[in-house]
Structure formats: structure tokens, C-alpha cells
């Protein structure tokens, strides 16, 4: 019995390591700037997805979603921030978000959507819509 349970625990641990490795692999290739979209798990469609604004950064900095997904940014900082798309047309642009304030945008069309905080332009992020 005891041996059996130990084996089961070992098994789940191994699985966990596998999953963690896969996740890491995805994150690494993305960070390197390679078109590694295929390496990560399929994006969830339509479900609400959150980007955290914390310590003057967006997390995750690069977010992949399926077309039609609503992305919500939540400001956890003591300092106000904005979410402004980088392109000339400003596809999306939030008002200033004070602490705990949120901004949502529905990404209907596939594409890459880089954005930044117009108050602190060193803060940058990107939404990749598939």
C-alpha cells in the first residue's frame, strides 16, 4: 500500500516536472523573440484574461489569446498607469488607471498588439491574438 502511494506521488511529481519544463520552454522561446507560438499551449477562447500591472511592469509582458478574448488590465501599483496601444491609430487606449482600477479590451482580430504605459513609457507589453 505504502509503496503504491509512493509510486503514485512520484508519478505526479514527474508529470509536474514535465509540465513545468514545457511551460518554461514556452516562456524562454518567447523571450528570445522567436516565433514560438506553436510551442505553447493553445490559447483559451473568449475567457477573461488578466494582465497584472505591478511594480511598473505588465505581467505577463507577452500574452497570447484567441481572437474574441477579453483582456483586462488591473493596476496593483500605488502609482497610476495607462494601457495604450503603440500603433498610430491607438487601437486601444485606457484612461489613467489609479490603484485597483481596471481596463478591458476585446481582441477581435488576430495580430500582434504592442502597447505601453504613456505615463511611464519604459513599461511595455504585447498581446498576440491568434
Amino acid at each position: 500500500m505504502i509503496v503504491h502511494r509512493a509510486l503514485r506521488i512520484l508519478g505526479s511529481a514527474a508529470l509536474l516536472i514535465l509540465v513545468a519544463t514545457a511551460l518554461l520552454w514556452g516562456a524562454e522561446t518567447r523571450a528570445a523573440g522567436a516565433p514560438a507560438l506553436a510551442a505553447s499551449s493553445p490559447p483559451t477562447a473568449a475567457a477573461g484574461i488578466e494582465v497584472k500591472i505591478d511594480n511598473f511592469s505588465f505581467a505577463p509582458a507577452v500574452l497570447e489569446v484567441a481572437a474574441g478574448t477579453t483582456v483586462t488590465w488591473v493596476n496593483h501599483d500605488d502609482i497610476p498607469h495607462t494601457v495604450v496601444s503603440t500603433d498610430k491609430d491607438r487601437v486601444f487606449k485606457s484612461k489613467t488607471l489609479d490603484t485597483d482600477e481596471k481596463y478591458s479590451f476585446v481582441f477581435a482580430k488576430p495580430g500582434r498588439y504592442p502597447y505601453f504605459c504613456s505615463v511611464h513609457p519604459k513599461m511595455t507589453g504585447e498581446v498576440v491574438v491568434r
Partner: protein, 330 residues
């Protein structure tokens, strides 16, 4: 307040000062000692672009300077009216304390410079509160430049309506006081992704024209919110096109650049240019790279006022000297 990091930009500035280009016999050893943070009150005199130091006990010398027909003014910065979180839930009280400090100066300043982030969220009631508090200052004239917190959501329109009288463009301006030429610059608008503060082509053109006809012996004071020297780019503490602005000021023997934004005293000397940042009246920020991000630094309540403060500036006419004194609210 900690000591200056030996491998920072500031250290380079120190090395630079070690060379006595002017052969004027100014003792730099004493100066270097006080170069490490002026936050507790250091008295720096700029003479022909070279700094000279005094112990803060000698504030009587400032009084002497003013009595000789000098010019005295005070810089305040980053009052962030509307901010209400640790370490300061009452930024109105600390701004009042700053005004008390100003009113207690041995020599009453002729005017105040506010180097931006007047408000926390650009709200009319936040500007109202600051205006109200500053009314009780002994100096009645206040010249403002905006911080990024003052131009949220409307590209600085409401800021300009309130504080822009007599200014050009998006709020930049120049004026003369007792032979000193003051230039207020705006570097918090139209910021580009991944970039730093920005002055923009229109303002740079105006600046070039503004100083073109001035004699090179005219002392220049430039004030702007974000530092016009690169303090720490990773946190956005610098201005992308500041080098161009400074190139127009090369001919002048004495240039003093006063900034805010980083909520701590930092100083650097480069040739005839002295760069100086002021403390906030609201909350401190960490030293560059000493925290995960540049957000408000939380300090024990009893320490708060020792990391907030004002900068008193005195110009001694005819002696080509500007003295900067940083004093905390403690």
C-alpha cells in the same frame, strides 16, 4: 539617505571636479565630502561653474549674500496632492510643512519654482488644494512646470489653463530675475514607447532661439520635471533629447539645472553645468536600482519628514555664484 554609490554617474562627476581647470584654488576635498547626499542640508556654492562647499551651520553666509543684493528663491517638487497611501497618507500636511519651512528661511525667497507632479491624478480639486496651501507661502509668485501626473488624460490642457499664463507651446517659458535667466521646460508630454522624457522639436527650437542673444556671462537656471541628465534609464529617469537642449547652453559660464521626479537629492557637475534634483514633499523613492521598481518607498512614520524637503537657491549678484541648500522637513 544613503551615500552615493561609487560606481554611479555621480562618481564620474566627482572625478571630473577633481581637475581644477580654473586654477582658482577652491578646496574640493571639502566639497567631495558633502557631495555624498545633500539631503540633510549641504550648502553648495557654484562659482564660475565650480562648486564650493560649506558646512550647513554657515547659513549666515547665505543671509550675507542676500543682503548684498542677491537673488533668493526656493524649489519645491512632487507634492503629489491626492496620493493617500503609505508612507504618506497626508500629503497636504507635508506640503504645509514645506511652506512652513520656506516661511522660516533666514532670507525670504522672492518666488517659488514647482518642478512638477503638483497633483497625483491631474484632478482640479488636487490642483486647488496645492494652490490654496501655497498661498500661505511668503513668496507669492510660483512658476510651475508639469510632471507626468499633471497632464494625465488631456495632454496637459487643464494644466495649461491653470498654470500656463505667460508660457509658450505646451507650457515652456523663460524669464529674467536680477540678471539670472530662468528657463522652464516641459518634458512629460508625447512620450514614446520604450523612451524617456521628451522635449520635442518645437520646444528645442524655441530654446535655441531664446538663449541665442544672451551674453555668455548670464547665469542660467533651467527647471524641468524629469531630470535632464541620465540618472537611471531603466526607470525612465532621464530625457531622450536633453543633450540637444544642453548643447544650446554650452557657451554659458554658469548653468544650473533643477529637476524633480526622482524624489531624492542627486547632484552631478559636468563642465559649467550643475545638475540637481530635489526631494519630494510627498513621499521618497528608492535609489536607482535599489528596489524592484521606482514606486513610492515606504519608511517608518517617524522617518518620513527626514526624506522630504525643499531646495533653497541663492544667487550672489556680481559673484557669479549660485548656492543650493537642501533641507528636509524633519
Amino acid at each position: 539617505m544613503a551615500e552615493i554609490d561609487t560606481d554611479s554617474d555621480t562618481a564620474t562627476a566627482q572625478d571630473r571636479i577633481l581637475h581644477d581647470h580654473n586654477h582658482d584654488g577652491v578646496d574640493r576635498r571639502g566639497f567631495l565630502k558633502c557631495m555624498a547626499w545633500a539631503g540633510t542640508g549641504t550648502f553648495l556654492v557654484l562659482q564660475g561653474g565650480v562648486l564650493k562647499s560649506y558646512a550647513l551651520g554657515s547659513t549666515s553666509e547665505i543671509g550675507k549674500a542676500a543682503a548684498q543684493g542677491g537673488l533668493s528663491f526656493v524649489q519645491i517638487s512632487d507634492s503629489h496632492m491626492g496620493f493617500n497611501k503609505p508612507a504618506n497618507t497626508d500629503v497636504a500636511a507635508t506640503l504645509k510643512a514645506a511652506v512652513d519651512k520656506i516661511n522660516a528661511l533666514p532670507v525670504a525667497p522672492e518666488f517659488l519654482l514647482h518642478t512638477g507632479d503638483i497633483s497625483h491624478l491631474s484632478k482640479p480639486e488636487q490642483f486647488d488644494t496645492v494652490d490654496q496651501i501655497l498661498k500661505s507661502a511668503s513668496a507669492k509668485d510660483v512658476f510651475f512646470v508639469p510632471g507626468e501626473h499633471d497632464v494625465l488624460d488631456d495632454d496637459g490642457k487643464s494644466y495649461l489653463e491653470r498654470y500656463g499664463k505667460g508660457s509658450r507651446g505646451k507650457g515652456w517659458r523663460s524669464f529674467d530675475k536680477k540678471g539670472v535667466h530662468f528657463i522652464g521646460l516641459v518634458n512629460v508630454l508625447n512620450l514614446k514607447q520604450g523612451g524617456l522624457g521628451s522635449l520635442g522639436a518645437e520646444q528645442l527650437e524655441w530654446l535655441e532661439d531664446d538663449v541665442k542673444h544672451l551674453k555668455s556671462s548670464t547665469p542660467i537656471v533651467v527647471f524641468a520635471h524629469i531630470p535632464l541628465w541620465t540618472v537611471y534609464p531603466a526607470w525612465g529617469w532621464g530625457t531622450d533629447d536633453s543633450a540637444q537642449a544642453l548643447s544650446y547652453l554650452k557657451k554659458f559660464g554658469s548653468v544650473t539645472v533643477l529637476n524633480g521626479h526622482i524624489h531624492q537629492v542627486m547632484q552631478k557637475v559636468e563642465g559649467n553645468v550643475t545638475f540637481h534634483t530635489a526631494m519630494s514633499t510627498a513621499f521618497p523613492q528608492p535609489q536607482p536600482g535599489k528596489a524592484e521598481g521606482p514606486g513610492p518607498m515606504k519608511v517608518p512614520a517617524e522617518q518620513l519628514r527626514s526624506v522630504l524637503g525643499i531646495t533653497d537657491v541663492n544667487y550672489v549678484g556680481g559673484q557669479h555664484a549660485l548656492a543650493l541648500v537642501d533641507s528636509t522637513l524633519a
